[in-house]
Amino acid sequence: MRLKYLVLGAAVAGVIGASVPASEALAKDSMLVPLFTYRTGPFANSGIPIANGMHDYLSMLNARDGGIGGVKINVQECETQYKNEKGVECYDSFKSRHPLVINPYSTGITLALIPKASVDQIPILSMAYGLSASAVGADFPWIFNPPDTYWDGMSIALKYIAQKEGGGFDKLKGKTIGFIYFDGGYGREPIPLLNDFAKEYGFNVKMYPVPPPQMQSQSGLWLGVRRDRPDWMIMWGWGAMNPTAVQEAAKTGYPLDHFIGVWWSGSEDDARPAGAGGKGYLSMNFNAVGANYPAIKDIEKYVIAKGNSQTPKDMVGENFYNRGIMNAVVIAEAIRHAQKLTGKKVIDGADMRRGLETLKISEQRWKQIGLAGFGPPIHVTCADHNGHGSVYVQQWDGKKWVKVSDWIAPVKDKVMPLLDEAAKDYVGKNQPWPKRDEPCDDKTL
């Protein structure tokens, strides 16, 4: 009987406990920024450094500046394990607590949340992931995916390959390009653009899907690569799929300087396990690697040195840690813009949407925040929720990433019309889709 009361008591305490953060979130002295993270499960190797980077930058702003505009940021993590259903649970647990923005950190979760965003008036920031077509602000006023869509990324990968083959896209004619991808929403996302380019420029595409249970067992797939002998391989991988692919490529004898990963396939942990065999592997990137930035020094001083971070010292400055910082910069700058636009100190989700829609991070601004040259200039408008920024290519030298290209711009004149078409298609298939009635602050629509 005692046990029964104990369980009942614990349940009541839990309900009461759960209601506390709600009142906390509504407090006037902080703004709730949930971070959907995955520090556990099969994708933790990719999730941990990103979670640390986001958490540490926002915590640094709290510790160093007292928050943004004098208001503290209430950073709260929700563990998704990169599972869609857990992501939706996280969303449901936060939506009544007036979050400023949701960072799903998963294309699958983003796809599940897109229809909910406008209903609940909570903007969704899917930084360089998610639905490419959501860059079209007229149809997706609550979704933002700067600085690049997956379609931009694919166009850049193909542009880089064409350059290496000696010039423009015409040099791809007759070539075979292999595409190894995570067989889920994320990995399939750039396929329409790849097929479109293949048709236009006359190259062949070989598909190599990797279902999640096969992430660490790819030897059969790489035998296929050996048979098909593609001239180049492009990878859209995540989690344990990446290091396995790099190792299998090395084992198969595939030339790693002809193997290029998207920006989510380029962490140190993706290339390092291959040892010397991983030398030469390429990946795209849009943030700098390294810790030699005043803002990162401040993170070390105000957050890590004070024991308020889970980040091991040697992770600071690694690629995905910096990716997390970049995501947090986008959040912080959007909050600043929203505060400026509305004149309010404590903003809400609707204000944040306006802040994201007028987001500008110029070279000068990157410098002002202590991250000179850290990322590309970002310019989001009412019409374009992405910005389609430039990306550079980095190469693994056996120990670290080395930048091996200039910044390469996406093929916007090809990507943009396809995005518009895809947005229309999405809206058509998801009727009734709400018509945009949110006014534009920058009048670009």
Binding site: P42, N45, P209, G220, L221
Partner: protein, 318 residues
């Protein structure tokens, strides 16, 4: 007509045109098969002794590999870390027997199965608490495992044999043979088989159930350690390794839950079958069929042998 040609003619033409690739596919399949057999063995050992499908076998692989690499990261020499990890797996076996199996003795098997769910999440939490969720590089070099490959020019092409794969095949074969000897030729093995046949009968002749459970959970722990080392060397050591345990399910369907030879032969059939399927028939449907093709093979076998390859045929009078 074209479809029939693609299914029944073209793959065999390919085999004839590029026999080196056929040999490579068979070799890769055999290596994968040996490793699948190793995972399946962990399940079989525990199922034989206690009738429990151990859901925690996958996380035991992760836990063992993380313990090994984690100890080495803290300055413990590789072979000492290996020995200490074996001790940790023994402690785990004793703890499981004391905390889970003993209190639940005589409970329905489904309760024990659910308890292994609980154990899974405890080990996940404990592993993350102690070692963090960061991936780690397997210390294969420090353990004396070879790297690099042999390239053999043959059949108009070449076959590449990874040294680590050869080592994996040898180690797994030795472990399987060792376990076979232990369970067939020793006192403890006979006791285990007695327990597998009937708990009550074994108890009545003085066999200690507790001791047997500790022995099989420990053996499963050692198998998990070997599996973790081999798979960790192919990718990295992270919680993603847990998914590898899923690879054992079609092997168990095929080989039966109670048969050690079944796990071995089943593993080899599944390993070779899925690689052949992916390589020769996968492109017909866009690739990526390995994960479910293994189940197709297992289910086709079940049509002809419902008890699995080496499972016991149970005849009950109605």
């Amino acid at each position: 007509m074209h479809l029939l040609y693609s299914i029944f003619v073209d793959p065999f033409m390919q085999m004839g045109h590029a026999p080196d690739l056929l040999v490579q596919t068979l070799w890769d399949g055999l290596v994968s098969g040996v490793l699948y057999a190793l995972i399946a063995l962990g399940f079989v050992l525990i199922f034989k002794a206690s009738g429990v499908f151990n859901f925690a076998q996958g996380i035991m692989v992760v836990f063992a590999a993380l313990t090994l690499v984690g100890l080495n990261e803290h300055g413990v020499p590789a072979y000492v870390a290996l020995a200490l990890t074996v001790v940790v797996m023994l402690v785990l076996a004793v703890a499981v027997e004391r905390a889970i199996l003993r209190p639940l003795v005589n409970q329905p098997e489904i309760i024990l199965f659910m308890a292994t769910f609980g154990l899974t999440y405890v080990l996940i939490g404990l592993g993350e608490l102690i070692f963090g969720g960061d991936p780690k590089v397997m210390i294969s070099g420090e353990l004396g495992l070879p790297s690099g490959s042999y390239r053999i020019n043959m059949l108009g092409g070449y076959v590449q044999l990874q040294k680590i794969d050869i080592a994996a095949a040898i180690i797994a074969s030795l472990m399987v043979a060792g376990l076979g000897i232990v369970f067939n030729r020793t006192r403890i093995g006979r006791a285990l088989r007695a327990v597998a046949d009937s708990h009550r009968a074994a108890l009545s002749v003085g066999i200690s159930l507790e001791q047997i459970w500790v022995v099989v959970w420990f053996a499963a722990g050692v198998v998990a350690l070997a599996t973790g080392i081999m798979w960790g060397a192919r990718s990295n050591v992270s919680f993603a390794l847990e998914i590898i345990a899923l690879k054992a399910l079609p092997v168990l369907i095929l080989g039966g839950f109670t048969s050690i030879p079944g796990a071995i032969v089943g593993g080899l059939i599944i390993g070779v079958g899925e690689k052949m399927g992916e390589f020769y028939w996968g492109p017909l449907v866009g690739g990526g069929i390995e994960s479910w093709f293994a189940y197709v093979i297992a289910l086709v076998f079940l049509l002809f042998r419902p008890q699995g390859l080496f499972g016991e045929r149970i005849i009950e009078r109605l």
